[in-house]
Subunit: 365 residues, 2 copies
């Protein structure tokens, strides 16, 4: 029997509650389908800091590196606002991304038809919206050196961060975007600020050259990132795949997520390069939403983004495409039936808690 | 008689057409009110490049430095896409900002009631919207060194940009934001990415300390820039004044501008520090929109953003507050009457060209 290893990092806030619902689905798949998932679990973020003073332990890092896939909940909360920069909750997530070399962050911004009304945009602008943002995740200003605060004396300090991109980093993320575009609308829009950033000039050149050399069949556009933000708000359906750097991707994917009105529903996948021997990619799956400390522990959090992240895991790490499709369809069906957690409650719908939502999706699966 | 010097830099695309409408208003004010405006004019952007191979000449830089205020149209267009980075059209604007030390960029995102329907957001979310984005304009990744593309050999290049902020730069822009908040809703929201950027950590500290020491009466909040982008889309009316750095300000102010549905109507002011002797600030006023090369020269461009920028000039450079109010009211009245340029045309309104729109506003002034 195949075994498939999953390493679970529920994290802080609503992370653990949401992860509980994924565990149910995993157990059911093992029982009913013999999928052979083997799960282990660790600590990350504030809960790791509380346990052993760092945002993720070496032991858990080793397990994450060895697993077929990592499922990540969420990290952070006001409890850890004062902890030193190096061990703040986010450091655990950033270390996972960097050490697992998860350079390709896939963030679908889709609008569930049942929720089009929940968007702050006019419904006709978001109905049927289906954008895939491909964000570079291991480079740019997130990791470039120097990154420091200097004391200049006289009460003056200097904060420095460095945006760095090498040709190969741009080439590999562009290739991921073009490959994925071929499975969808066959269009890529690349966003940077080449009019003020040298890294943007290089980004633009390398994307253009990668396109010319390997993907001339895909339609490629370029947009300045500020204009891109505008266009996302003005007419989001014009986009198919958007490829952009780590920092612009952070901002633009959040704006895109919010547009859909489905923020609590959106998953993400972070993928590494295929292993030269096995062809397998390291991977981490996490909801786009945060840890929502204000509602943690109350059993009312929406587990859909976490479950949809598991669907991406089935698709990208285990090639269980049929199961991924079915799980996504189960989510859409449950929403269609008017079953809602508090964050997406609407008149005429039935309000349920985290566990009930998980059960309802499992029942449709 | 007082003389007041204005240096006009119409630039490229629709810049010159829009500037013509401001010239009419200036002439009328001189005739009818004896305002004593003295105007001179120069070249910037692509038109400067065509004339003498740089994005702004030394002579025009000297005139900009000497003037009481600079009125700037727009720069750029496909014609200059291939020119070297150092002399690209934007370089003229960036040099003006830097050499005049225009560190404070004020970008009001207001929704003209007559245009609420034009927003892609639901009307109830934007009706009455009035946000002021205070963007740092002479620091950060726009100007930090190193900023270069290195050739690493082996076909690999490295693009580098540097985000740098010193305490004093953050302090002075925060002070501008707090001062302006006191004249409005008395609330400031500061945005950065302190969870991944050291400059963001320093930004957060200095804003907090400036608030504590000098502006404790103003309500201060902090938001991560990605969450800020989301909140702008979700519920923009929650904001009064937003203060943020150069790059985040570029993106977030464009998103905010687009939300209003009034993009072609939005002005901006870029201000320096008060001169220690005269108390006067160097200043440049420019529309938020770009050069729109596709419609340039057709006489159909919307001149409202340029005229509204002149209203900001009356307010901030010449303390002609009553005239500024009246000019802004004239714009609102003309819109209320259903007079529209093509970009904001709506059923039941009357479509006019650039000159007619300028005349209509002057008639209401
Ligand atoms: C938690 C934080 C470090 C992270 C980021 O900035 O990348 C988050 O905002 C995200 O988008 O995944
Ligand atoms: C033209 C460009 C250099 C400029 C910027 O990035 O600052 C523009 O986008 C703006 O917002 O004023």
């Amino acid at each position: 029997m195949t075994t498939r290893s999953l390493f679970l990092l529920p994290g802080d806030g609503i992370g653990p509650e949401a992860m509980t619902e994924v565990r149910k689905i995993v157990a059911w798949m093992n029982d009913a389908r013999g999928t052979g998932f083997v799960t282990d679990e660790g600590l990350v973020g504030g809960s790791a800091y509380d346990a052993h003073g760092s945002a993720i332990s070496e032991g858990d890092m080793a397990k994450a590196l060895a697993a077929d896939a990592v499922l990540f909940g969420a990290v952070g909360g006001p409890k850890w606002d004062g902890v030193p920069y190096e061990v703040r909750p986010e450091a655990g997530l950033l270390r996972l991304r960097k050490d697992l070399e998860l350079f390709a962050n896939l963030r679908p911004a889709i609008c569930y038809p049942a929720l089009a009304g929940a968007s702050s945009l006019k419904p006709e602008l978001v109905e049927g919206l289906d954008i895939l943002i491909v964000r570079e995740l291991t480079g740019g200003v997130y990791f470039g050196e120097p990154k420091q605060i200097l004391d200049l004396g006289n009460g003056q300090k200097r904060g420095i961060d460095t945006q760095v991109y090498d040709t190969y980093e741009i080439e590999r993320i562009a290739s991921v975007a073009f490959e994925l575009a071929r499975t969808r609308g066959n269009r890529v829009c690349s966003m940077e600020k080449r009019n003020v950033m040298k890294s943007g000039v290089l980004w633009n050149q390398v994307v253009t050259e990668t396109h010319r050399a390997k993907y001339p069949d895909v339609k490629l556009d370029h947009m300045l990132a500020d204009a891109g933000g505008m266009q996302l708000v003005r007419a989001p359906k014009q986009f198919d795949v958007i490829v952009t750097d780590n920092l612009f991707g952070d901002l633009l994917s959040d704006v895109a997520a919010m547009l859909t009105g489905s923020l609590g529903m959106l998953p993400s996948a972070s993928l590494g390069a295929p292993d030269p021997k096995t062809g397998k990619r390291k991977a981490l799956y996490e909801p786009v939403h945060g840890s929502a400390p204000d509602i943690a522990g109350e059993g009312i959090a929406n587990p859909i983004a976490m479950i949809a992240s598991f669907a991406m895991c089935l698709r990208y790490s285990f090639e269980l495409i049929g199961d991924a499709d079915n799980l996504e369809k189960a989510i859409a069906n449950v929403l269609e039936k008017g079953i809602r957690t508090a964050d997406i409650m609407a008149p005429g719908c039935r309000k349920v808690g985290t566990a009930e939502m998980g059960d309802a999706i499992l029942a449709e699966f």
